[in-house]
Symmetry: C2
Subunit: 328 residues, 2 copies
């Protein structure tokens, strides 16, 4: 149904949750929107939502897209949605903005282009930021994926901005990760620096009609050739595209399919999904512990120790030990 | 002394620590290198190093630099080092690469340009990645800053790649944070998306001789004008530079000085440093807790729960609760 709003009010009573999940299951976009808002804001009914959605876990193929600003992620996502819809898939899009811990909400500018799909009932599009979520996006993103799986999506695209660690972590939560590059942006070198060679299953050289596209493809292929890879390991694919004209998108989809078959053939899908679940569970647990640390001595323990560390009378390890002793 | 190597062997015996700290205090670059390696790798003698360095906490002015790939961070850092040296400051540079959790080490490509300062005994330059550090870069970066403070640096520049959350967190550890932009890279919009308006004390529009520089300056000034700011709050400065020709660097230094005076006048330096210390202590404590979670039932607890979450028979909140119960 296109963009699902971020302005939906939170659910106030936990007895509303079963009904909300049931409505999301039936494809009601407002129920989907509310559930993702709950997930994003870390509402207290979240464990109940998670329990209700658990049975739908793993129903969708999760495809991550990441890359530096300006490489054309939104355009590529838009075209991928079009191609997947043409095959009859129900598609969810999560545009994750891990860089926005401050503003309390993702900015939707880029999403305007996605309005191509605004009237399509087979598409859910949602921007997400970390907001108040206990486990941050490491926990919120898989939870949102589960909402979309519950709502019947066959494919969930998780788009992240940039190549920082947070983005890499989010992208690595996917079954298949696409890394987008564009000619002449120094991305090839940045890609190495960012360690994304290790997480990219498919490199998409977008804007491939521009000068320097051949060099970018060569750089990436050189990096892949140099990368250490055991027998039976996936060799990252390199695909050219001009997403703004829809060119090469079929090749991207074919590469995703090929990777999916490889995952199935190597029992790698299970391994990736268990790693994803482990990261999610750990993030939730650490979020709870962080909350406990923050509440020690009515919230005065950490600031008090920090003041002593800042003035040099206590070292941070000794301070951390005191905190941990306080946790009991 | 220029680039301090990353290849220094770790200290094996804790009785070496006092000697190492003493040698670093006297400006021995190899001792500085070893201590930063200890910090980065999370060596078990780290608490001892921290305790030995605590008295030197807060001696240097910490300046963060961040921005997207390609805006000229290394060149700007290089020119800032030159300008600060000309004033007689001892300068430390930490080039932090939070995006590299996989490769086990930062790539030094960019640093080649910094060899201008390779023979200068008043400059320490070091690339850092998170490696095995318990608290990640949130804990390793301030610890490395403390090493450089102990070694007598008056100014420490902390350079981070990109605009992701990890970089923003590292940059926000500084007393003064510079955000670098370049014309025509869509950075202005990305800056908003990344929430860096909230952390930038000074915007440097680099490559200001290029087309579009005026528009970039206008965009940023527009954003600043729209930003909410109470009375007595710092209004971010916008400075133009062409770092590759050394132009505008004096203006950048003047803006840093102005911000420092403002920090002093508003008791904001203490507040920022206490916040930095709190983040550091919390990160160390959470790192310890993460280690405990990972060791539960000889390391089988989390993977076992994750497998049940992945197959949909357990929800992640219930799994996290089991983990926390295991911690006792």
């Amino acid at each position: 149904m296109g963009e699902v709003g971020t302005s939906a009010p939170p659910v106030r009573r936990s007895r509303d949750v079963p009904l909300l999940v049931e409505r999301a299951r039936q494809g009601d976009p407002r129920a989907v929107a509310r559930l993702i808002t709950l997930v994003e804001s870390g509402d207290e009914v979240l464990p109940q939502v998670a329990a209700a959605l658990a049975p739908y876990t793993g129903r969708a193929q999760v495809v991550g897209l990441t890359g530096s600003p300006g490489v054309g992620k939104s355009t590529t996502t838009n075209e991928l949605v079009r191609a997947l819809r043409a095959r009859g898939h129900r598609v969810g899009v999560l545009a994750v903005d891990p860089s926005s811990p401050f503003t309390g909400g993702a900015i939707l500018g880029d999403r305007v282009r996605m309005q191509d799909h605004a009237t399509d009932p087979g598409v859910y599009i949602r921007s997400m930021s970390s907001r108040g979520h206990l486990g941050g996006l490491s926990a919120a993103t898989p939870a949102a994926v589960r909402v979309l799986e519950g709502a019947g999506c066959d494919v969930v695209l998780v788009e992240t901005v940039g190549v920082g660690q947070a983005e890499v972590e989010v992208a690595s939560l996917a079954d298949t990760t696409l890394v987008l590059l564009a000619p002449g942006m120094g991305d090839a070198i940045q890609a190495v620096k960012a360690g994304i060679l290790e997480i990219a299953d498919i490199f998409v050289v977008n804007k491939a009609d521009r000068d320097g596209a051949d060099a970018t493809v060569r750089d990436i292929q050189g990096m892949i050739a140099l990368g250490e890879r055991g027998p039976g390991q996936w060799r990252p694919q390199v695909v050219r595209a001009v997403a703004a004209r829809g060119e090469g998108i079929d090749d991207v989809v074919a590469a995703i399919d090929k990777h999916r078959r490889w995952l199935d053939d190597h029992d790698e899908l299970r391994r990736r999904r268990e790693a994803r679940a482990a990261a999610e569970v750990e993030a939730i647990a650490l979020g709870v512990l962080r909350g406990r640390i923050g509440s020690l001595r009515d919230g005065t323990a950490l600031p008090g120790l920090a003041a002593r560390v800042a003035d040099g009378t206590l070292d941070p390890y000794a301070a951390a030990e005191e905190l941990l002793a306080g946790l009991g």
